[in-house]
Amino acid sequence: MTMPLKLNGRLTIEDLNALPEIPIEGITYDQMYIEKQPICPEYIPPDQDIIPSSKRTVVIDPGRICMPFGAMWAAVGVHKCIPFVQGAQGCTTYPRYTFSRIFREPVSIATASFHEDTAVFGGRKNFIDGLRNLIIRYHPEVIAIITVCSSEIIGDDMEGFLEEAQEELEEELGPKILDEVKFVITHTPSFAGSHVEGYNRAAAAFLKTLAKRTTPNNKVNIIPGMITPGDIREIKHILKLMDIEGTILFDISETLDCPLRLPQPMPYYPKGGTRTEDIVNMGNSLMTFALCPDQGGAGAKYLEKRFKMPATIGPLPLGIHSTDLFIKSLAEATGKPIADEIKDERGILIDAMADTFHYTMGMRVAIYGDPDIAAAATRFCCELGMEPAIVGSGTESKQFVKDVWATAYEYDRKPIILNGSDMFEWEDYLKKDKIDLILGNSKAANVSKEADVPLVRIGFPIYDRVGYQRRAYVGYRGGEYLLDLIVNTILDSKFPDDRVQQ
């Protein structure tokens, strides 16, 4: 065997094809150089008049995904729950791709497989057959029935279909089958809202369908919203330190971040997720916290109305102030004292802030994300002495505007707020302003490179880096992690190498 050839530098397509030998390790990405060709010879500026999204119809780079996706996210957080999507196959396959990209985990979602005939005659047969096939092979404990644009437009009567399906199931498999599996219907036509609303509707639907009031207990309910498995672990950690029993709906911490331990069950089910009996029991809790007002608030409001259960809706406990509020509310609701360990954790975050304010103060930040995350990130930036310059939310939300204004007023900042805007508009503001740092999801990565402004990744979705789904941003320890990310990014981009240490 000849010695492996070592390649240095960047090879054009021509060079690659002229190499006399391909080395054992193949050609790596960093060796391959593709020359960019401009779409047209000269730069033509976009029409400035219609850049603000309020002045146009077209949406370019939407910061929101479809409503069913939010409902699927929720359902994936329930133990042995399989979402059943009443629509075409793409409505299942695309979300599964998205989950896999973000979490690097398998996600099982069933589809009614709409074809032309279904669009004409309705989805009744596909639904009834589909439920039967799913139950008989997978034995799920819950099936989250999720509608999409097509089934809503053709007017599928899901409640009626489900009654019929249950009758047929009982006939084929005996009456016991209906005790073994629960059904929750969530209506999520994407033309009526985004993933944020999908999660919200799923929270309400699960509680309406399953929660019961029997014997009150001392638990608290937590509806986390679309935050990471790491975030949910952090919430559990806080509850543990406070010696509080809680139910988390929807608990993706052990369904979207699972160990590789052989052998696995077949069919594969992750071992985690909120148990059905715990959801039933959520009617008996002391109170409900919906951490994200727009993602889960509807669930807390339902319990409040139905069972007169006090509800605390937002803010997301990210940063000092919002985590303080969360901890205090927890203590008040349960009568438990604030644990000493928690005070230490808070102290460590405060200590980290005290050590780093020279790096963060005055930095101008552009923020983009789902409304609850963007509002929470804005507040934390202000707490670090940074200046939020542009804050955008992909999904329109009154609460988002209210929260950002409250923060801005408190810290005397004047950010541009883009409510329910697309990233095209946000990007334009960012590129014209002098911005030091971006806080946003992976969809902001191109903008970050083009505008040469560093990006700190936060929110949904993050698919171009590993490990973010395992980390917490919420709680004091999450704040510590986010602070480290922010400061290290500033050190990387704003400080000369000979001045990064003191």
Partner: protein
Amino acid sequence: MAIPEEYKLKCDFTIPERYKHHVLTNRKEPNIPACNVKTIPGDMTERGCAFAGSRGVVGGPIGDCIQIIHSPSGCAWYQWGTRRNLSDIYAWAGPNTLCNDSQNRRRAVTSDLLEKDVVFGGMEKLEKTCLEAWRLIPGAAGILIYTTCTSGLIGDDCPSVARRVEREIGKPVFVIDSPGFCGVSQSTGHHHFNVQFYDQVVEYREKHPEACMKEEEKGPYDITIIGEFNMDWDLAYIKPLFEKLGCRVVAVFTGGERLGNLLKIPDAKLNVLHCQRSCTYISDLIKEGFEVPYVNASFFGIEQTAKALREVAEFFGSEEMMEKAEQIIEYELEVISPAIDFYRERLTGKKVGMYVGGPRVWHWQRVMKELGMKVVFGMCTFAHEDDYEKINARAEDGVFLVDNPNEFEIEECLERFKPDLFLTGLKEKYLCRKLGVPTVNSHSYEKGPYACFRGMVNFARDIYEGVYAPVWKFARDKDFI
């Protein structure tokens, strides 16, 4: 021939109609499973929709158009910079800078249909969307409009909008009508794109003869490459190979291509057809309409790439070209032999399972053989009869085949056949890895390109990394089970 009893998967006892989709390969009398038929609802299929086939696969790689999705924003979001169909055409990000990602992947443009549009119709909105997008993303060569479930069901007349916009902007505006619920799989979307794009190209050429290639520009060895989507820059090896042979590649349908070149496809002398599932349709149409023949080709592995070169040379009947082909093949083999020998030595005897959309399952039978690996089962999402004929012809006898497999069948096959490696896509990748089976992403690749002689080294390397990664040793440690 029906699947023998001992091969019947346990997970399908309760949905026995699935057994029609299972066969064992046979070279002499090919066994064709039931295929290209409706999916059984609720069976946990891996299939996608027609929109994914038209926008995601065939139309997505076109490099210099604004691609508008007429839908609520979700469908556009899912198509935004996801598939690794790369291009070197970049929009301007500012006066002196180009964007960070190529035009076909950089942006998601949508009419963002809302409830009121569903009730009152979305045509006016679509027209505004097109005209505004044209002002906001300047410099594009045209507009492609895609319909989805929502716009398909509300019945918007998109072609009439396209005609008005085309008059307004003076550039081609094509409509691809392929809502997600059409057909049985993404394969329908491929078909729709082929036929509708072809029709509109022909119509445009008739109205705008200046879009055709002028007689004096035509060369004797002009070819196109049809059904090649430039996954992870496969074209970096495919195109130069034909140029070395003496051909001129006029256009690629559609990998990273400019619309202007796509309009000239009928002016070539020969179409070289790579993806014979998604693009045979347009090749047939061009053959009928313009009398331009095509040859089927595969650019994966040594034997098949060599065969493609020889057949193109033979088509042109030039002695010189045929000689050239032999020289290229001989030289390229020298270039890759040390690396390929290294990997063959380490991969010989390893068992591989394969699950790709359709054609790659037959494209790669020979490649696996060239690496010394043994294919133990194969699965296709949307293959048709001709694909299964090709698999039967290329595989060893008795390889277990599954048409349109579902998640449970994949799990059971992994357990039953215990492959050392599974070639599969992104959604299935993490399931398999969770079950302790290494995978190589066979749609978008791990670290490509994989095509032609030189790309095969990357492919072999990624397979080797999969099989030999130290992690599997830890995962199987009995003390921690």
